[in-house]
């Protein structure tokens, strides 16, 4: 980056995405609610990816492969959390790509699920199998 370049996107805390999702979820417009659904998923996924990396469970690549690694690792650690993360992702995919009516679970379910995943990962200890 040269000195003339402007930082278009500064670093972000994924938890802020969940706050944003909650704020947007109070609106009625479909495009806003779909954006909220998308942010709810990314809050859970990105927070999990960064925390699992920080706690020595995975090595992040900062691309699509991370979705597989996070899903698998969460399922290894606690099946219900990993499966919930996957369901959240598949629902977000449907909501993001399908412009028709989508009979998806409520946005509240998505936000609650994201929060549940975040709470679990937050409480997770550093990987005990890694030796210093």
């Amino acid at each position: 980056m040269t000195s003339e370049q402007i930082m278009a996107f500064t670093a972000v805390d994924p938890l802020k995405y969940l706050d944003l999702a909650r704020e947007l979820s109070t609106k009625t417009e479909s495009e806003v609610r779909r954006t909220a659904a998308d942010r709810a998923y990314y809050a859970a996924f990105l927070f999990s990816r960064d925390q699992l990396a920080l706690k020595d469970y995975i090595v992040p690549f900062y691309r699509e492969q991370d979705k597989y690694d996070v899903s698998r690792k969460l399922k290894e650690l606690k099946y219900g959390i990993g499966n919930s993360e996957h369901l959240l992702r598949t629902r977000r995919t449907k909501i993001t790509y399908d412009t028709r009516d989508v009979g998806s679970p409520s946005l509240d379910w998505m936000i609650d699920t994201a929060q549940k995943i975040i709470n679990y990962v937050k409480a997770l200890a550093v990987n005990p199998t890694i030796k210093n």
């Binding site: 699509e64 492969q65 979705k67 597989y68 698998r72 690792k73 399922k75 290894e76 606690k78 099946y79 219900g80 990993g82 499966n83 996957h86 369901l87 992702r89 598949t90 629902r91 995919t93 449907k94 009979g103 998806s104 679970p105 409520s106 379910w109």
Partner: protein, 210 residues
């Protein structure tokens, strides 16, 4: 006939007898226990290969006397027990499983994977049967992930005749059971469960991720 389920009571296996020659379920229940509860209709319920509880129902006397004998026959037996037999047996069939694209499923799983999948499906069937989940069917689907290249897996779709909220509660109960089972799996089975087997729910109002 409409009868309301009053409650289920556990019956020790030795009190249960099995099928008679006409294929009817019969068992013994303590007379005092039956009388104290003021229940008037008993149905033996089959769980797997054993009969491990009876459902006690009420309001039988709203049914005409002639009909009662068609549902329930009782005759005293030794030592104060009551012999109960009924033709209206709720036989709990295991929930049916279907496989979409079975060749791809088999290729992906291999022999070890099939065993693990069967363990998960058996657990689901057992829980559904024992806890009376409104689970209509189980569908195993093969998937290629739409976002991550070369990621293949299976989704066990649980088709509930219920609201999404109820189905989601059943799913959370299943997670707890599955996590208990997962602790007893060997390393290969744990890896298969983590990598290849997902569970989703589909409900009668069309909610489904797929």
């Amino acid at each position: 006939m409409t009868v309301q389920t009053y409650k289920s009571i556990p019956i020790k296996p030795y009190e249960l007898q099995g099928l008679d020659k006409r294929g009817r379920v019969f068992g013994y229940i303590d007379w005092q226990r039956l009388f104290r509860g003021k229940h008037d209709f008993v149905i033996a319920n089959k769980v797997g290969a054993r009969f491990n509880f009876l459902e006690l129902k009420e309001n039988i006397y709203q049914v005409a006397a002639g009909q009662i004998s068609a549902y329930l026959k009782m005759s005293p037996v030794a030592r104060g027990q009551f012999f109960v037999i009924t033709d209206t047996i709720k036989t709990a069939e295991p929930v049916k499983v279907s496989y979409i694209n079975p060749d791809a499923i088999e290729t992906l799983l291999g022999t070890k994977g099939k065993d693990t999948l069967n363990k998960v499906i058996n657990l689901i069937q057992k829980e559904a049967e024992e806890d009376n989940w409104p689970l209509a069917k189980i569908e195993v689907q093969y998937r290629k992930d739409p976002e991550v290249k070369d990621w293949e897996y299976l989704i066990i779709v649980l088709d509930y005749d219920s609201s999404f909220e109820d189905a989601n509660e059943y799913l959370n109960i299943l997670y707890n059971r599955l996590e208990d089972v997962a602790e007893r799996l060997n390393a290969d089975e744990k890896a298969i469960l983590a990598e290849l087997i997902y569970i989703d729910i589909r409900t009668n109002n069309g909610i489904y991720s797929g």
